[in-house]
């Protein structure tokens, strides 16, 4: 089963390798990982997506918690949360397909951020499912490149995840 986990860590040298090393060293897989500092400069927030059965997930969260640099671990899978990902997509276009591309961009409320005679570069944010959706529709035109940020998540409601 897929799990999306938020980890608050000390924003210090080597933290990323501690986290990724924990996964590689124990044979857990990371599907995606995104990291950036929080409002508090000495804290970073990581969002990682992983897969495994209950026992593996229990180990993953326990092992994450065990790291000295880790301050908080939240597995969002069982709660309500909002998930957003950013993708930049370079798609081949010609005179014929251009209108169709723009229509798709419009439907998905995406944006064209760079244009050449042969291509559009499209920016889209949304749930990973939405991004998969637009990719599916653009695929026949020829996708030259896709860059995805991996999802970031935040819980629903007034309460935040804080140190």
């Amino acid at each position: 089963m897929k799990h999306t986990i938020s980890v608050l860590v000390e924003n210090e040298f080597g933290v990323l390798s501690r986290i990724s090393g924990l996964f590689s060293g124990r044979g857990f897989n990371i599907e995606s990982l995104s990291v950036a500092p929080t409002m508090e400069a000495d804290l970073s927030r990581m969002t990682l997506v992983t897969r495994g059965d209950d026992r593996i997930l229990e180990q993953i969260t326990k092992q994450l918690n065990k790291l000295i640099s880790t301050i908080k671990v939240v597995d969002f899978t069982h709660g309500e949360y909002i998930e957003r990902e950013l993708a930049l997509i370079k798609v081949s276009t010609d005179a014929e397909s251009r209108a169709e591309a723009l229509r798709i961009v419009d439907i998905f409320r995406a944006k064209v951020i760079d244009v050449t005679p042969k291509s559009y570069t499209i920016e889209i944010t949304g749930s990973p499912a939405k991004i998969n959706g637009i990719l599916e529709l653009l695929r026949p035109m020829g996708i030259k490149e896709v860059v995805r940020s991996g999802p970031v998540v935040i819980g629903r409601g007034a309460k935040g995840v804080v140190a």
Binding site: F13, G14, R18, G21, Q59, K62, K66, S69
Partner: protein, 565 residues
């Protein structure tokens, strides 16, 4: 007061109560060694950095204090890695200080540069690269705190050369504030209450005790609990000395080379109380049949140990001393129920004693060749079971666990988790430094001994009267045993072709060398070794193809043992 980084280091060590460190100098720590020259801290110069770490490890295991190591950058630092991994696997508190190239050169493939934080990340509890002199004192404070609290472990500090000479005002913090590190000490009272109920309801309970019991210094509580409830105790390799093995409730070791009666007890029990043990594969054998009929209570300070390998009915996270103390408190208020339970478990103990009678821990004795087990029995007897025993890794290690009758905590120092050949001699060295007046004996194999034999020099230099007993089968015996049993006796690379003259080797270093080739020389050899001052090496030429039994073949359940005939 302004001090240099290396002075700050040494002052901090003093404030942490460190009086002895183990190490080896080099360019990147030369400033530390210069300051050490006039420091009251005692430094032991081993002949290899790996040995320095094992020595600090042995020192830590027998005292409960944090072992401290200093090594230079690059090769000095990488030499420490096996020692660090050994300590990590057995949760030994230790602080390793490595020199590092100056901060502006880090990452440049500078001379004798190695990324020690990268290399040791998976085998330390935590590690630090100190990049600013202002962080140094706090880092040392945190390192010691992390090493000795919670589930203990080694912490490495990488200290660049320029930081060692930079001056800064010294003030040692009296508190640590680590928001990401708050070990749980106090066991949940409701869970402990439940544990008491389960214990009182059980008909066939067994205590399965691991090295955590010694890390928490909770051996007294364990003994009280066992005696109060009359629950039999089986110990892992790491806990053999944590429960008096002569005690009627002692079942000895369990697992791959465990006793018949320990393994049967675990297989048949209806309640398994795991205390500071971690269901290691060498203990459990085929995991799905391990304690199949039992409810499991698991007490450990490290939540990641609980539920990792087996499903647990009642997890209790906490310091073992706290948890067992509270459990004893609850039970002492229910003395009538405890009496009832002792009565209703009588049958169970009778069953276990029958198993024990049927298949005691034994071996076929001989008058013509020296049996390695016999040597261990004699050493046990002739030291009043009071010596600190260290081991290397192999058959001799298992025989030491099986045939030495331990009766005092912290007297059996062995590499359980990593299984590091070469651990025994340097850890004995460290133990002897900690206890100059106690008898310290390294039970060794001819293969393992050669992995750190250079430490004979250290023993002689510091006049450390460690006795070394090599059970010499001229084989990498444990591997040979597997080859005999599972590879049709194809002894690939396990025959030590060159019969080494260990007596001459000992003498070359200025130690005493003794040898026994016949059964009736064994006692005299041990006696002479114990009476000879200074380090003594005993070379026992033992029966070569002796096997460690019982044995649970890999992949089998622990009751499917090959027994000694």
């Amino acid at each position: 007061m302004e001090l240099t980084g290396s002075q700050i280091l040494l002052e901090s060590l003093k404030l942490e109560g460190v009086d002895t460190i183990f190490g080896y100098p080099g360019g990147a720590v030369i400033n530390i060694y210069d300051d050490l020259y006039e420091s009251p801290i005692n430094h032991v110069l081993t002949r290899h950095e790996q040995a320095a770490v094992h020595a600090a490890d042995g020192y830590a295991r027998c005292t409960g204090k944090v072992g401290v190591v200093v090594a230079t950058s690059g090769p000095g630092a990488t030499n420490t890695v096996t020692g660090i991994a050994t300590a990590y696997m057995d949760s030994i508190p230790m602080v390793i200080i490595c020199g590092q190239v100056p901060t502006p050169l880090i990452g440049n493939d500078a001379f004798q540069e190695a990324d020690m934080c990268g290399i040791t990340r998976p085998c330390t509890k935590h590690n630090y690269l100190v990049k600013d002199i202002r962080d140094l004192a706090r880092t040392i404070k945190e390192a010691f705190y992390i090493a000795r609290t919670g589930r203990p472990g080694p912490v490495l500090i990488d200290l660049p050369k320029d930081i060692q000479v930079t001056k800064h005002k010294f003030s040692y913090p009296d508190k640590v504030s680590l928001r990401g590190y708050k070990p749980t000490y106090s066991g949940n009272s409701r869970q402990i209450e439940k544990a008491a109920k389960m214990i009182l309801a059980a008909r066939k309970p067994v205590l399965y005790v691991g090295g955590g019991i010694t890390l928490a210094a909770a051996e007294d509580e364990l003994l009280k609990l066992a005696e109060q409830t009359q629950i039999p105790v089986t110990t892992t390799l790491m806990a053999m000395a944590a429960f008096p093995q002569r005690h009627p409730l002692a079942l000895g070791m369990l697992g791959m080379h465990g006793t018949f009666y320990a393994n049967m007890s675990v297989t048949e029990c209806d309640l398994l109380i795991a205390v500071g043990s971690r269901f290691d594969d060498r203990v459990t054998g085929r995991i799905d049949s391990f304690a199949e009929k039992a409810k499991i209570i698991h007490v450990d300070v490290d939540p990641t140990s609980i539920g990792k390998n087996v499903d647990v009915d009642l997890p209790i996270v906490g310091d073992l001393k706290d948890v067992l103390g509270k459990l004893l408190g609850i039970l002492s208020q229910k003395s009538e129920l405890v009496e009832d339970s002792v009565e209703s478990t009588e049958e169970w103990r009778t069953m276990i004693y029958e198993w024990k009678e049927r298949h005691p821990m034994t071996y076929r004795s001989s008058k013509s060749v020296i049996k390695p087990q016999y040597v261990i029995e004699k050493i046990s007897e002739m030291t009043d079971e009071d010596a600190i025993i260290t081991t290397e890794v192999g058959q001799h290690q298992m025989w030491a666990a099986q045939f030495f009758t331990f009766r005092q905590p912290r007297t059996f120092l062995t590499s359980g988790g990593l299984g590091t050949m070469g651990f025994g001699l340097p850890s004995a060295l460290g133990a002897q430094v900690a206890f100059p007046d106690r008898q310290v004996i390294d039970i060794s194999g001819d293969g393992s001994f050669q992995m750190n034999s250079q430490e004979l020099a250290t023993l002689v230099q510091y006049q450390l009267p460690v006795k070394i007993a090599i059970l010499n089968n001229n084989y990498l015996g444990m591997v040979r045993q597997w080859q005999q049993m599972f590879f049709e006796k194809r002894y690939s690379q396990t025959v030590m072709e060159l019969p080494i003259d260990f007596i001459k080797l000992a003498e070359a270093y200025g130690a005493t060398g003794l040898q026994a080739t016949k059964v009736d020389e064994v006692e005299a050899t041990i006696k002479q070794a114990l009476e000879t001052p200074g380090p003594v090496l005993m070379n026992f030429k033992v029966s070569r193809e002796e096997n460690v039994l019982p044995m649970v073949p890999a992949g089998k359940a622990i009751h499917e043992m090959v027994l000694a005939s």
